[in-house]
């Protein structure tokens, strides 16, 4: 069964959380991302593994509208929590 997974990971020496939303469809993609961001401290980074398509457009837009800093690298969405 597909599910969103969140794990702690160390990327270039900085603790970053990761979230896999490749198995999800809108709006669950943003719901899962939003809830994960809620659990994080301001300034923390979340790396979201995403599929090509709708979510790759919608999740960064929703994250920006919520005030977070967002960068998209391929199918990875990097979000720094506001």
């Amino acid at each position: 069964m597909a599910s969103a997974r969140s794990t702690g990971a160390t990327v270039t020496g900085v603790a970053a959380r990761t979230l896999d939303i490749t198995g999800l469809t809108c709006p669950m993609t943003w719901v899962k991302t939003k809830l994960e961001l809620e659990r994080m401290a301001p300034g923390e980074e979340l790396r979201v593994a995403c599929r090509e398509g709708e979510a790759l457009e919608n999740v960064p837009r929703s994250a920006r509208e919520a005030g977070h800093v967002v960068a998209v690298e391929g199918t990875t969405i990097r979000i720094v929590r506001a």
């Binding site: 069964m1 969103a4 198995g23 999800l24 709006p27 669950m28 719901v31 939003k34 809620e38």
Partner: protein
Amino acid sequence: MNSRRSFLRELTGSVREVAAAARTGSGTFLASPASSVPDPDLARYSRQLVMPEWSGAAQAALGAASVLVVGAGALGSPVALYLAGAGVGRLGIVDNDDVELSNLHRQILHFTPDVGVPKAHSAAAKLGFLNPEVVVEPYQVRMDAANAAGLVEGADLVVDCSDSFETRYAVNAACCAARIPLVEAGVLGMSGLVMGIRPGESACYRCAFPEAPPSAPTCAEAGVLGPAAGTIGSLQALEALKLLTGVGEPLLNAFLQADLATLSFLRVTVTRRADCPDCGRA
């Protein structure tokens, strides 16, 4: 009567089946395939969770909340349906009446086969069907000054959907004494009123209406239009969600007077009365 009983039996059976299916994730009742909805609980609330104003914390607050709905009639129907749908953890439903045919045009929790069935139980069956995650407790009793304190005890919020000034004053007094937030409302014909109350902080129902009008017509005498009750009940549910979650701005120290014949809404400011017998500081 047999057909009514079998209807409720079937409905209750279906509710159990859905609940079991939801727990195991094996249900044929789930509209979406499990592969695209990995978390049925979250999917249920996803359309409110995506709202910028809403949050996981707001959802958790609802899930932890216990709400008492006084009356399962014209106002109580939309109130209980929306609160159950939104994910309030525990819903108490207080109503001593049986469903009558004349109720059905406005009391959308009850259906024709329910005629003769206690409203509290008819309501509990439908709410369980709508959201098996909600714990619904039917209380087949009429709330009055004698039992109000006991019934509201332990509630995080009370929504008064009763149909008499006597009951409203009893509910208001009990909520003020226990400091339980309350959403009051009334509807008649094509007009209605809604008021949110945080006892001790904002004006209470008796501050706004110290005495019942000498000859207030009842719903049975004056009539009421179904969607008018639905509108007022929906506003009540909205205010309840605001008070429970902190999302939005609750209608406090004011009541909303709605003239639905002309769609005119008037917000009337109310101030606390020092000599209020229910919430007064004197």
